[in-house]
Symmetry: C2
Subunit: 162 residues, 2 copies
DNA sequence: CAGATTTCAGACTCTTTTGTCCAAAATAAG
DNA sequence: CTTATTTTGGACAAAAGAGTCTGAAATCTG
């Protein structure tokens, strides 16, 4: 559904948003905490800065930061910047020039889902997700829980990892 | 969202269902009408027969046919047989062991979409899609409209092709 | 200024998906 | 029985996605 690049981008952006105390967060820190390949993540985040969603700063004390307040960046923006918006415009058969004038046999059913997806992605802001990411049982990646990072004494909810 | 294999499989299956007059439809016919690579489509349909959704028959007068009535094959079955059911169980971050116990920050929003997708895919039968495919403006592929095949004198709705 | 840190840019490899091709097995028809 | 047709099964090639690596440019610290 979403490409790996897109997933990494979303995870990293939520991480940065939740990490509001640091001005610029080094990509190496994000990559090591989220267990994403550093070089790969670098390229993904470069794309986000080129799309104007993040700012970057080189050198010591450098890193990446959100280009706008977390309330003004939506999931739609993130997906659109990395995977493109085709997920919001195409669907089952992905025929060129889809629309009610020349639909595929599932058009009326798929559009319902597609529209709901679009509405939700446009409404869901980084702030909302970052806030959610701070809750106890919520995880950003297979093993990374933000609450555990802030309070290392907390035990994971199902004891799966150290 | 769906792989090419899956899209081809769905298109071909709808074609077969709408083509109820022929007992076995040769893959070469499907491929040439739908403008899909014959050899590639062959493999996709082999998978559908292996999954028990289609029957095949070799030799002259051979081809493929639905293994069950079109009312009993759903979009869910088709997608599940080719792309697998992960699209109905995973979503935004695709973390292993997703669930309410250890969700990602978008879980509650995504599950709404995922559930609706699942419900629609389970309800949408081949018969419904095949019937729809017979309507004038509905197309199965970029250029293929079933109504035009049955009545070649009909002009396409927007005159895009011969 | 010198050295350390960090993003930037591009080349490169590995894997998966997509697409092509060929020979063998099954079947119908003459 | 022979030939033509059609699926089966696998090998193979091309393209796209995912991941790795190296060097250059910018920036801070001392
Ligand atoms: S559901 Fe509608 S928009 Fe989606 S592929 Fe079919 S025709 Fe196009
Ligand atoms: S939305 Fe829920 S099911 Fe989907 S990836 Fe996130 S946690 Fe998993």
């Amino acid at each position: 559904m979403l490409s790996k690049s897109c997933i990494y981008g979303i995870q990293a952006t939520i991480y940065v948003a939740a990490n509001a105390s640091q001005e610029f967060v080094p990509i190496s820190q994000i990559a090591s905490e989220l267990k994403i390949s550093f070089h790969f993540l670098t390229k993904v985040l470069q794309q986000l800065t080129q799309e104007g969603l993040m700012n970057s700063y080189r050198g010591p004390k450098g890193g990446v930061a959100l280009a706008k307040p977390a309330t003004e960046i939506t999931l739609y923006d993130l997906i659109g910047a990395i995977d493109g918006t085709s997920i919001f415009t195409e669907c089952m058969l992905g025929l060129p020039g889809c629309g009610i004038a020349e639909p595929c046999p599932a058009h009326e059913h798929w559009t319902k889902i597609r529209n709901e997806l679009t509405v939700i992605a446009r409404r869901l802001t980084l702030e909302t997700m970052a806030k959610k990411a701070g809750e106890l049982n919520v995880r950003l990646t297979d093993e990374f829980r933000y609450a555990q990072r802030l309070f290392p004494s907390i035990k994971p909810i199902n004891g799966a990892q150290a």
